[in-house]
Symmetry: C2
Subunit: 209 residues, 2 copies
């Protein structure tokens, strides 16, 4: 992309990450190192040459590097994009109220709303294991040591199991849907939904970065 040619941090930042698809590539890499084919799989709709172009650009700018196995991973500076990405996702949360329609979905993308909803470290947050069955593959949300993280695959002995379409799952995780609304959205639950509320941050609490 052509540079904006402006001496402004926003413009110079967008010179690096403003290209189409670039931040979505970063979203994939925020989950950990990825092979080229994994990126293609996680970015339905991208053309292969564009993915190669973007990765070259990100590597040139020092956002992405190759590891020993040739996988792509974020540099320390690239990891810093978690905050802009979360900020955009938080701002765009109202857009998720519209149903997926024919939009593509990968269950790994749930890591983003989970990071936004269960942000930061909270010593008072209880441990909990949630298995989520939606999209292409099951996934586990784990609350441990006051932090919430997402790992691929099913859980061994989950406290809560959520099954259903992605919009319903996100509504339940956000706390926007109660048990009855969740059912009407096609979400079936095994376990007590109220455990989720204890994972969310109380409003006005201190943010840890």
């Amino acid at each position: 992309m052509k540079s904006y040619g402006q001496y402004c941090a926003l413009a110079r930042g967008l010179d690096v990450i403003g290209d189409r698809w670039t931040l979505l590539i970063v979203r994939e890499l925020l989950a950990g190192p990825c092979r080229y084919s994994e990126l293609l799989e996680g970015l339905p709709g991208i053309a292969t040459n564009l993915l190669a172009d973007r990765l070259r650009g990100l590597e040139k700018h020092g956002v992405v590097a190759r590891d020993a196995q040739g996988r792509y991973q974020l540099t320390a500076w690239g990891q810093g994009l978690a905050e802009p990405v979360h900020a955009i996702a938080r701002w765009a949360a109202p857009l998720m109220a519209a149903p997926p329609g024919d939009n593509a979905f990968r269950s790994s993308w749930l890591a983003l709303p989970v990071a936004v909803i269960f942000d930061g470290t909270d010593p008072g947050r209880p441990p909990l294991t949630i298995e989520v069955r939606t999209g292409d593959t099951p996934l586990t949300i784990e609350s441990r040591h006051g932090q919430v993280r997402v790992v691929p695959g099913p859980a061994m002995s989950p406290d809560l199991v959520l099954t259903g379409p992605p919009d319903g799952i996100i509504g339940v995780l956000m706390g926007a849907l109660d048990q009855a609304s969740a059912v009407s959205r096609g979400v079936t639950t095994h376990g007590d939904l109220r455990q989720l509320a204890r994972l969310r941050k109380p409003p006005g609490s201190v943010r840890h970065r």
Copy 2:
């Protein structure tokens, strides 16, 4: 722009603000309502039809609205873009170490680094008035009631006056340049630079949103 077609908050957000120039238009509007011609002036390099296109798109999506005088302004939702914009600017701060070269610059763009450096409300922050003479027009940084804001135009009786090129000014505001380095960067100061340090946030302090 074509939609990414993904059920993901980041992708859906970028469907709205991911187009080229869009976030720079938002940057301008974060300073307050703007006429079309003011936007053109603050966005050197943009084509007039693109500005019109982007404004239409932002209006359609509910990010921007017209006020009684026909000026463009952010909606309540659009104001929420301050956080993503600040997050990108914070991430891109290292890119500002490279000198402006032939990049364009507007002194009003200093509002962004000022918002990032002197973020939030801090009751312990002393009142202070700084006049900055750089770029196209002078501008005043005011610390009042624990908050720091930028207003156009010179100050009546500033505690500190900074004159010089934009990269030097930003270095001084960040605290990256001491008095001697500032001079070597072409910045002349009237007043005590140490007053600036009292405006910056102590690391690890609580963030208020």
